[in-house]
Symmetry: C2
Subunit: 203 residues, 2 copies
DNA sequence: AGTCATAAATGACCGTGGTCATATTTAAGC
DNA sequence: GCTTAAATATGACCACGGTCATTTATGACT
């Protein structure tokens, strides 16, 4: 790696680290780009050579999280355990991972303008790059299919529908937890709701 | 009502109507407060006498929606039909109501900084005013309890948990629909997922 | 080492949301 | 109709996010 690339990487990283620290200290709105650049020892314009907007710092943070989450998913996918356990394990692992950094997650979901969610209903035309969220639901759908083949899950429902329902519960639990001011286990709360989906509420 | 109050109300309304129109025409970011005040024939400062921020226009819009939704809820609550039907009716009615104005809802959810969601996990101390979202979940919980008493719903689960799970599916379906670029029936999509919750996915 | 094209850094500048001291309007009391 | 205090309107002003023409640093090539 050339000196140039090296320095670029370092600068980008410095901006990012300083930003997250300041966000934690003073909030997202309360931190100005001027402060960030001053601390990083660069001019204001330079910031925008590295990140197109102040908000994009949060996107970058999210991308890093997503990489990690996908690795958790893939770990679970390959294990030799009942599908229900795989699903619960996966979701609980993600939840536990999130529990470590509630504050920055709050920023991520409440400060970022467009919080991406998977639609499950894509336009048939369009770019073919899979978004991370779709991968998330896609993997849950794969697990559901696997469960159907093994006779662990009802096979008269569209696996995608099941995946979306699971994801709904996961997402809702996450949001509730982020909004709440009290401390409780997000993963346990979610786990209870996943059980409902498996067992149904009907008599 | 005095002349003063009358004019105040009119001005507030004019600002609001013009704003929503401009948002539809040019988007939220694309519309400036200057434009709004110019069209409304008032000075810029006056705008902020009526709405504390530009974003608060969206909150106001949401409050209006919420009033309406609560009335739908209350209608269903008092009918003499099976609980499952009440729940489905209620959620489907809300969905159908939303389907009428997808664009402004998108603004509401994607442009507004902090999109409120019910936690279901409130701090024990704090203000006692019930937020609208809690009312929403509260009513779903009441319906669940009713269903348990009538033997239509399993009674070994906390009704609140059921309510939250139902709300999760409702909210997720709504968000997916708002994100999607294609036209499909949000209410039907949601309905299918509600069925899953009633019947479970286990064998 | 010197030249030069390209990458990267810079900060004056702009448009916007939001503030606030001041000016204007209202209506109650006389 | 006049006075006066409170409600309301005003626009100059500020801070911030973001742009861009210009300057500076880099390294490939001779």
């Amino acid at each position: 790696m050339s000196l140039r690339e090296q320095k670029k990487k370092e600068t980008r990283n410095r901006i990012f680290e300083i930003s997250l620290r300041l966000f934690k200290e003073k909030g997202f709105e309360g931190t100005t780009v001027d402060e960030i650049t001053k601390e990083a020892g660069i001019a204001k314009g330079t910031f925008f050579n590295y990140f197109p907007t102040k908000e994009s710092l949060l996107s970058y943070f999210r991308e890093q999280r997503e990489e990690f989450i996908i690795s958790i998913m893939q770990d679970q996918m390959s294990r030799e355990i009942p599908v229900r356990e795989k699903i619960e394990n996966f979701l609980v692992h993600v939840a536990e991972y999130y529990e470590k950094d509630r504050y920055l997650l709050r920023l991520l979901f409440f400060e970022q303008r467009r919080l991406l969610m998977s639609s499950g209903h894509r336009p048939s035309q369009g770019d073919h790059r899979k978004k991370k969220q779709e991968l998330f639901i896609g993997m849950l759908a794969d697990l559901s299919s696997e469960g159907m083949q093994k006779g662990e899950i009802r096979s008269d429902i569209d696996p995608k529908l099941i995946a979306q329902t699971l994801h709904a519960v996961y997402f809702h639990s996450l949001m509730s937890w982020l909004h709440s001011e009290i401390d409780y286990s997000f993963s346990k709360d979610m786990s209870a709701k996943i059980d409902i989906i498996f067992e149904g509420i009907g008599v």
